[in-house]
């Protein structure tokens, strides 16, 4: 027992370079989790809806993109067409599902988005088929070496793209008119409406942006793992990230993703062999669960105040 718990520590001490490699690999895959989590945060911030369908949206984006490419569309056309599809989907969800459910309990909205998840999973697989597809967006995948540490160049490019996306979003939220309106809506629907901010337009914009983030996440994950149904399950990985980071915080999604990605890799490499392996499925959840016991609102989340 003691050996299982503390043995790996000795190993880390003895081979620091390998440890660094594991940590960096974990951080880089954490960036990918953050990408998915971002889509959740965006929608939650602006409408208070916890959109379980984000994972399905990631899958759909990747499937549609590959589908268009297979039909012979060049890269940019496929990208624009996919963006159009995501936009339409966002509009449809907003109009058909969320608007009739305004003022319902958050838990009802959450269950509704589970329904949406199943619906679009089924729909898009009916349209595009359910076999594994290869997606290549031309990002090199060779390992490169930094000071004795092996890193996959694909992960670095993905991290850069994610970074650019986050910077763009941060700029959009902080410095543009729409961004300001968005934050106002997030704070208080009614107050925002009473100063003349069009609620519906804002929601459409948010869902469209979430669609865009899903597209980026989908292409990244898709070219890493191949486009297949299991992509939708990545949403399940993003949930503990959100819990750790707080549902309303973009930096929280990033930091949460990094912590989960790193913790998961380190635990998997060092501690999992002692207890049977394959702990990636639940490690993030247990980590998030333990964390919740001490800080229910997450790292960067707003404190939850409740009144009768």
């Amino acid at each position: 027992m003691i050996d299982i718990l503390f043995g790996p520590l000795k190993e880390i001490w003895e081979f620091p370079a390998f440890f660094a490699e594991v940590v960096i690999g974990g951080l880089l895959s954490g960036v990918m989790y953050s990408l998915v989590a971002l889509g959740f945060v965006l929608i939650f911030k602006a409408s208070g809806v916890f959109n379980f369908a984000q994972g399905a949206m990631v899958l759909c984006a990747a499937l549609t993109f590959v589908g268009f490419e297979e039909l012979g569309a060049p890269f940019w056309l496929a990208l624009i067409l996919t963006l159009g599809v995501m936009l339409l989907m966002a509009l449809a969800i907003e109009r058909l599902v969320l608007r009739p459910l305004v003022n319902q309990a958050p838990i009802i909205l959450f269950m509704a988005t589970i329904g949406v998840t199943f619906f679009i999973d089924g729909l898009f697989q009916t349209i595009w088929g359910s076999d594994v597809k290869r997606l290549d967006v031309g990002i090199p995948k060779d390992p490169i070496e930094f000071a004795g540490v092996q890193v996959n160049s694909f992960d670095i490019v993905a991290a850069l793209i994610a970074g650019a996306l986050v910077a763009g979003l941060a700029f959009f939220f902080q410095s543009t008119r729409i961004g300001r309106a968005l934050r106002a809506v997030a704070d208080d629907h009614q107050a925002a409406q009473s100063v003349g901010i069009p609620l519906q337009t804002i929601w459409v914009i948010v869902w469209a942006v979430a669609g865009l983030v899903a597209l980026v996440a989908g292409t990244m994950w898709g070219s890493k793992l191949g486009v297949q149904f299991s992509l939708a399950l990545i949403a399940l990985k993003a949930l503990p990230v959100l819990i750790l980071g707080g549902f309303t915080s973009i930096p929280g999604a990033i930091v949460g993703g990094l912590i989960i990605g790193m913790g998961e890799k380190v635990a998997e490499v060092y501690w999992a062999p002692g207890i049977g392996g394959g702990i990636e499925d639940w490690f993030a959840y247990i980590l998030a669960l333990v964390f919740l016991m001490f800080r229910p609102q997450g790292l960067f989340g707003e404190k939850i105040i409740e009144r009768v």
């Binding site: 916890f50 058909l96 599902v97 009739p100 459910l101 319902q104 958050p106 838990i107 009802i108 959450f110 269950m111 509704a112 589970i114 329904g115 949406v116 998840t117 199943f118 619906f119 679009i120 999973d121 089924g122 729909l123 697989q125 009916t126 359910s130 399940l236 949930l239 503990p240 959100l242 819990i243 207890i275 049977g276 392996g277 394959g278 702990i279 499925d281 639940w282 959840y285 247990i286 998030a288 669960l289 919740l292 016991m293 229910p296 409740e306 009144r307 009768v308």
Partner: protein
Amino acid sequence: MLYRESGQFKSDYAADQAIFPIRQDRIGMAAILFAAFVVVPLIADHYFLSTILIPFLIFALAAIGLNILTGYCGQLSLGTGGFMACGAFAAYKLATAFPELNIVFVFLLSGGVAAAVGVVFGVPSLRIKGFYLAVATLAAQFFLIWLFTKLPWFTNYSSSGVISAPPRSVFGFYVTGIEATAEAKYIFCLTLVAVLALVAKNLVRGRIGRAWMAIRDMDIAAEIIGIRPLRTKLLAFAVSSFYCGVAGALWAFIYTSSVEALAFDINRSFQILFMIIIGGLGSILGSFLGAAFIVLLPIFLNVVPTSLGVPLSTATIAHFEYMIFGALIVFFLIVEPHGLARLWQLAKEKLRLWPFPH
């Protein structure tokens, strides 16, 4: 004209508070039970019993379990599959460790084990709620399935990771194992489910159920009027997991006879969540209706297009199932959040007033 309560007078509180205060309901219930216990085993064939009715009963039991937690107490759980697996593996360990223990007690004890595990994972529910808790229950789901897959102790070190039900008998009839007939399994299952459903119905009608509903409707207000939130929520987790655990044990022992942990993966949890949304949140009857719906829809999708001359491939059927379930969930949440059970209730209200609706 038939469904009218005029002329039925009650002279004591006990009669007024009975489960079925209206005579027609009592007669209807007796007729249903008679049909289920006597008529069905006589006329139904092996296929109908073992691939439709038995899974329906087991699903209904699991749905009652989830409904107690989610529908009555308002704690959304996505860990149903994990708790079912708990029951299944606990039943296997108990049945193999104590061969002379009656199988009924094995099932009830394994429900107890699942309840204990449910309480452990319910502890965070005091501090977190809503979808935070849903994510926490996902932790239970993934962790438990992993545990049962990875630790060979749970499968008595079998190489395939599969547990198979040892043959056990009740009153001289085999109800598990290969010698058990479909009729015996069905009657055993039905008895257990009927008794447990009755217990659940009475539980949610009484003080405990009311405390759960108060927590569901507004937990802080409930706390102020003197309902202890942690105790109430943990009790809901315990009772819910007990039902799910028994359902899991029945699934492993009666329905499939041999099962691996992956049969209780996350999709099973979603399936049961769908049952209670479609059937009706906060309704015991709804658990049965939802289970029937979810069991019958795939069969319907398999049979109807083929008989119309457009056979669909298995993959297409699976995708259609997804789409139909998803669309129905959204539809029911928007149009009738109380599900099929509410529709049935409305029909009864209409019948009571018919033909003078005002």
